[in-house]
């Protein structure tokens, strides 16, 4: 039985965590020992090394077994299961006999580490060059959770989903784990040697043959390093390329003001927000996302403390920003420029433009009525001119300085401002001209994501002729595949570095753990060019900042590290002057003709860099609810024209380039337009990314990076199954989400309660339990503030050790997310109003699931929690059947990964890792509640040492803490003054399926919209009819 105990239910307990600690030392020794070996010998020497037990752990971590969560052959652990089963049949009762475990304490315990007491470190995630401030929770030297850093002046509350998921990236066993040359394992030392030759020969040439290709960056240290390098090699060139970038807005600023400035929006001051294809509520487009979400969310609360803002969205594809719009106008991307011009005209007194119905006029009127309290935001998908127009409009409306301020650009540019595509083109030209001898690709994956017409890949003869090609990156990818040398980069959670948030505040990035795979930072790579070998990035960082702060450096340094930012260095708003008000039209090639293809970074895996991240791959996309794939997202009319339904295959032909994609029909997509997400179809990536989606970069051309007209689509034979978690568009006439306009709300504040017969409080056949004493936990979710960004879902997954099940299992309806964000549509199918509704466990006071459990594995706690005892669960699944909210999840197979040691390090030690055959569900993060209670009960306050109660806000659930829009509030509903009980007292607070009298502890705050009377807003009462039912057809 002991075996079964091992596998039955396992948690990384403190003692087991401790015995990882020394293996860091082993890593060092290994590095030294391996420094001599190379190629085949490397492996043999590994064998020789594997004597001390800790090394086994290490060995696994370095070369993990093939053990993806959803592998389908009977593996070792399953045989253990069988053994345990047969033993059990032999009549042995409960598996109480514990296997012998070992405790491996420190030799010298570090000062601050106390086993079982996690520490928080302030750091930042560099993303698209910009910093996203974070606090990282570290348990026994192991980062186990990423949270937002609310103290940061950038003004964010939570995080975004990428920050949450970056944790999994760090522990990813598929990350590149060694320096390689031509695929053979080599060493850092050998790499540096190999650079010496070229550098010596380049010295006299002033480095004319050296080219650096990096991603966008805001790191002051890196900038100064590059400056130094370019000083040493004046002829060398530094190029930057990112497939998804901020070039259009920068270009727009150039066009409008003639200088490289960045616009910062102040949504808290905006009563009217106009988005011209701007997805400003998503981190995939806007580095100001966290602040936008916070301020937007605050202005959408129905308590009316602040006036609810009004959001107009004109967009070329459905986004979560469009989902929150009060008035939304779907236009094809190229039409939006015309719309912008027309709007500009109307604002500046013109008129009579009827192309866009009364939408335009009403909007113009509304804007002019809100001078100084409105803001127009242009999206990255739109060409610079639209941004310029937006600036012009803000200027005309006197918004500048109020709702939008201008600062210098945060991004570090090599020489002046050059767009990514141009920069890459320059590089390519030099390569074609054979000018390049040493190509340093620092990060990124241009071979995969460069514009197709640049042909920046192995087929590029000249590129392959470049004598020395070096790639530095987290993964062995398409790019490293065409380089001789690959240097494995250290993850940001493993490295010393710095970066700046959108507002310019520098943030020190500090490591939470020694590089698992001895990765290197960009800073260390660059030391090879400035003759300062052997300097660690820590030294470089300190050196740079010492230069900035000659004064009391140590204190400055300690404070910056502790707070997670360098105070007082944010960029100051500056005056800019508009150069003109009418701008040359962009030559949108063959605009309008044929079907338009819109390229968008994927909501989950961005430009492809997160393709190997299981959490993100399995995350249902906010609107399509697709997982594990991208698709040709189109509206119903186009689909009918093409005679396709979802999951049929179409071939897209764009200027002679062909690509087959599965169709997904979606509400609100403009007619004659198809949206494709970027980043899928990786060919050289980890096990997770393999076979996920189609590479749409193959259609993306340097002169049509955002959208392209004139595409032809044709149905082709075949069916491709997509894994969607939510097939339904409507609510079948059930009042699940409730929304009203401000007027309706003011007329009837209790509008959320009308539709259904609610049982009177305390209505029951039996007696009522007394929940009036002690803590009684409850949650209120504000559907008005919720922007459906999915961050909470990933946060929950990270906090609660929720496994990834893989595409096949998702198609079978077995995804494990404890928290899901439901999406419903009202209005018309062509242009619906989208409603988001996060659904965790409702913690019903009269829980239907509990009554039917035969073994009392789920029962009620005295604090009103619906406890789930995994080790008691036998797996009848009756509770799930009887749960009207279907929030329970079942381990149909052994989904949790017991085999990959490195994955164990990532697990939250406070949460049981569930085994096969066990039901699981949201627990309101009981581990956090318990920790808070224990802390409170050990502390005494006042002279008489009265006992301290848990304060309001002391316990935050993972979803609540991560929410960038503050849409989730959790707390003690017995405390009249707690935020949650105040919210629950609101008239627009309602419980889901109240008529079942389950008495949910989780309730919802209805959404209140601020529609314009002159426009017919979405009909909130009318539901779209359910259109796409492909899977249901198969049923």
């Amino acid at each position: 039985m002991s075996e079964s105990c091992k596998t039955e239910l396992r948690r990384e307990k403190v003692n087991r965590l401790v015995n990882i600690a020394p293996s860091r030392l082993d890593l060092e020794t290994v590095r030294q020992k391996l420094a001599s070996a190379r190629g085949k010998h490397y492996w043999r020497s590994l064998e020789e090394l594997a004597e001390q037990p800790d090394f086994q752990e290490l060995l696994h971590r370095e070369f993990p077994r093939q053990a993806s969560e959803w592998t389908d052959e009977v593996s070792r652990r399953n045989f253990l299961k069988l053994m345990s089963a047969s033993l059990a049949f032999a009549g042995l009762t409960a598996c109480t006999r514990q296997p012998t475990e070992h405790i491996v304490p420190y030799v010298r315990q570090p000062e601050e580490t106390i086993p079982g007491k996690p520490l928080l470190f302030a750091s930042a995630m560099p993303f698209g060059g910009h910093a996203f401030p974070v606090l990282v929770k570290s348990d026994m030297g192991r980062p186990i959770k990423v949270e937002g850093n609310p103290d940061h002046p950038a003004g964010n509350l939570g995080t975004d989903l990428f920050a949450q998921a970056s944790l999994l990236d760090m522990y990813d066993p598929d990350r590149s784990q060694a320096v390689t040359v031509l695929g053979d394992v080599s060493t850092w030392g050998k790499f540096l040697e190999s650079l010496q030759g070229p550098l010596v020969s380049q010295k006299p040439l002033k480095g004319a043959g050296i080219r650096f290709l990096t991603e966008r960056s805001t790191s002051p240290t890196l900038a100064s390093q590059m400056r130094a390098v370019l000083l040493a090699f004046p002829e060398a060139k530094w190029h930057q390329y990112e497939p998804v970038n901020r070039d259009n807005s920068r270009g727009g600023a150039q066009m409008a003001f003639g200088e490289d400035v960045a616009a910062q929006h102040r949504l808290e001051n905006a009563d009217i927000i106009v988005s011209l294809d701007a997805n400003f509520l998503s981190s995939t487009e806007n580095p100001q996302f966290l602040r936008n979400a916070a301020e937007f969310g605050r202005r959408r609360k129905a308590d009316l403390k602040e006036k609810i803002n009004r959001l107009y969205v004109v967009e070329s594809t459905p986004t979560i920003t469009g989902a929150k719009a009060d008035h939304r106008l779907p236009l094809r991307a190229f039409e939006i420029e015309q719309f912008a011009r027309a709007l500009m005209a109307q604002i500046s007194g013109g008129g009579g433009d009827t192309r866009f119905g009364n939408f335009l006029s009403a909007l113009a009127k509304d804007l002019t009525a809100h001078r100084g309290s409105s803001v127009v935001i242009a999206g990255e998908t739109q060409p610079p001119v639209v941004h310029a127009l937006a600036h012009a409009m803000n200027d005309a409306l006197g918004n500048a300085g109020r709702t939008v301020v201008y600062t210098d650009s945060v991004e570090v540019s090599p020489e002046g401002f050059r767009g990514c595509v141009d920069s890459l083109q320059d590089l390519n030209n030099d390569i074609q001209a054979g000018k390049v001898d040493l190509l340093m690709i620092l990060g990124g994956n241009p071979v995969f994501d460069a514009p197709a017409d640049l042909n920046f890949n192995e087929n590029n003869q000249q590129l392959m002729k470049v004598p020395l090609r070096v790639h530095v990156g987290l993964y062995q990818n398409e790019t490293s595949n065409i380089c001789q040398w690959h240097v494995n980069q250290a993850h940001y959670l493993e490295s010393w570095s710095d970066a700046r948030t959108f507002d310019g505040t520098p943030t020190i990035i500090q490591p939470l753990i020694d590089p698992l795979y001895s990765g290197r930072t960009m800073h260390e790579v660059l030391t090879a060019f400035s003759n300062q070998p052997g300097l660690t990035s820590y030294d470089l960082l300190r050196a740079y900042w010492q230069g900035q702060h000659p004064g009391d450096f140590e204190n400055f340094w300690r404070k910056s590290l502790h707070d997670g930012f360098v105070p007082g260095m944010g960029l100051q708003p500056r005056q800019v002057t508009l150069r003109s008000r009418d701008f040359p039209a962009t030559s949108a090639r063959s605009a309008g003709s044929g079907i338009e293809i819109v390229f968008r970074p994927d909501e989950n895996i961005y430009d492809g860099r997160f393709a190997n991240n299981g959490w993100l791959q399995e995350l249902p996309k906010p609107l399509t609810k697709l997982t594990w794939d991208n698709a040709a997202v189109m509206g119903l009319n186009l689909a009918q024209k093409l005679d396709v339904v979802s999951e049929d295959l179409v071939e897209i032909e764009l200027r002679g380039r062909k690509l087959k994609l599965p169709v997904w029909i979606e509400a609100g997509v403009p007619d004659q337009s198809v949206t494709v997400q970027l980043g899928y179809g990786r060919t050289h990536a980890g096990r997770v990314a393999q076979g996920a989606g189609v590479n749409t970069y193959r259609l993306r051309l340097s002169d049509a990076m955002q959208f392209a007209s004139g595409a032809k689509l044709g149905k082709v034979d075949g069916h491709y199954q997509l894994a969607a978690t939510h097939h339904h568009h409507n609510m079948e006439g059930r009042a699940l989400v409730r929304a009203a306009t401000v007027k309706e709300f003011e007329e009837n504040p209790r509008f959320a309660h009308q539709e259904l017969e609610e049982p009177s409080p305390g209505e029951t056949l039996y007696f009522n339990y007394d929940y009036s004493k002690g803590y009684q936990w409850g949650m209120a979710i504000d559907t008005g503030s919720c922007i459906g960004c999915n961050t909470c879902v990933v946060a929950c997954q990270a906090e609660n050790n929720i496994p990834v099940v893989g595409k096949f299992e998702v198609t079978r309806g077995r995804e494990m997310h404890w928290l899901r964000v439901d999406r419903y549509y009202t209005g018309t199918y062509e242009n619906p109003k989208t409603h988001f509704q996060p659904v965790p466990c409702m913690q019903c006071e009269q829980a239907p699931c509990e009554v039917v459990c035969p073994v009392a594995a789920t029962v009620h706690s005295t604090e009103g929690l619906n406890d789930m005892v995994y080790n008691r669960c036998v797996g009848t699944r009756y509770c799930s059947n009887n749960c009207p909210y279907k929030v329970r999840r079942f381990n149909f197979f052994l989904y949790s990964d017991y085999d990959t040691p490195v994955k164990k390090l990532m697990n939250n030690p406070d949460v049981t890792v569930r085994s096969r055959g066990v039901m699981e569900k949201c627990t309101y993060c009981i581990q956090r509640i318990t920790r808070a209670r224990i802390t409170a009960e050990k502390e005494f306050v006042g002279a008489q040492h009265a006992y301290r109660e848990i304060e309001d806000g002391e316990v935050k659930t993972a979803c609540q803490q991560s929410c960038p829009a503050d849409a989730i509030v959790f707390g003690n509903i017995n405390d009249r003054n707690s935020r949650v009980s105040k919210l629950k007292a609101q008239p627009y607070n309602y419980s889901l399926l109240a008529d079942l009298n389950t008495r949910p502890r989780t309730t919802y705050l209805a959404e209140v919209m601020n529609t314009n009377d002159e426009l017919t807003g979405p009909d909130l009462m009318k539901e779209v009819e359910n259109k796409v039912v492909t899977q249901e057809k198969e049923g």
């Binding site: 029951t764 007696f767 006071e845 009269q846 509990e850 009392a856």
Partner: protein
């Protein structure tokens, strides 16, 4: 008392009627330690040999009540006393729910006591019995109708009783050894 040389006498009759008839006569004669054997149940037969009522029903009743009691006690103790848990807001002692196991246990215990009681009172299993010594007795499960009078009966006398039985138009009479 002294051990009789034989177990008793076994007489066969040609059918239910004559067997019942004979049994009644023998009982009237005053024979008590006797028994009748038939291939299928014959109500009148047990009456004829003066066997009127059995205590079996009482045993079953007791068994049933015991089952009921077990059900009530067990469920109440477990759910309300030993580990009271708030299950979906239902009472600790949820009588409505407890009815069913109580009912089932009642039936179970009663049925057991019925079968076990029947066997016990019949003194079964009893693979060896003197009457089996008579070869013809093997027909008892087919078409044989027998009457046996035991030697231990005070009014028994091998010769007399044999004559008496033959007087009842027995098809055959055999001495049954121990």
């Amino acid at each position: 008392m002294k051990h009789p040389p034989i177990w008793g006498l076994l007489a066969e009759f040609d059918g239910p009627n004559s067997l019942v008839h004979a049994s009644e006569r023998a009982h009237a004669e005053g024979f008590r330690k006797m028994d009748a054997y038939s291939p299928f149940p014959i109500e009148e037969l047990s009456e004829a040999i003066g066997f009127h009522r059995t205590r079996l029903t009482l045993i079953i009743l007791i068994g049933g009540l015991l089952g009921l009691l077990t059900g009530v006690a067990m469920q109440y103790w477990i759910s309300a006393i030993d580990y009271p848990l708030n299950v979906g807001g239902r009472p600790y002692a949820a009588w409505v729910a407890f009815v069913i196991p109580c009912f089932e246990l009642t039936i179970l215990f009663a049925s057991f006591s019925a079968v076990v009681g029947m066997l016990a009172l019949n003194g079964l299993p009893l693979p060896y019995h003197p009457v089996f010594n008579v070869p013809e007795f093997s027909r008892v499960s087919r078409d044989g109708f027998f009457l046996a009078i035991e030697a231990s009966d005070p009014r028994f006398d091998t010769a007399e009783t044999r004559k008496f039985l033959q007087g009842l138009r027995a098809v055959g009479v055999w001495e049954v050894p121990h």
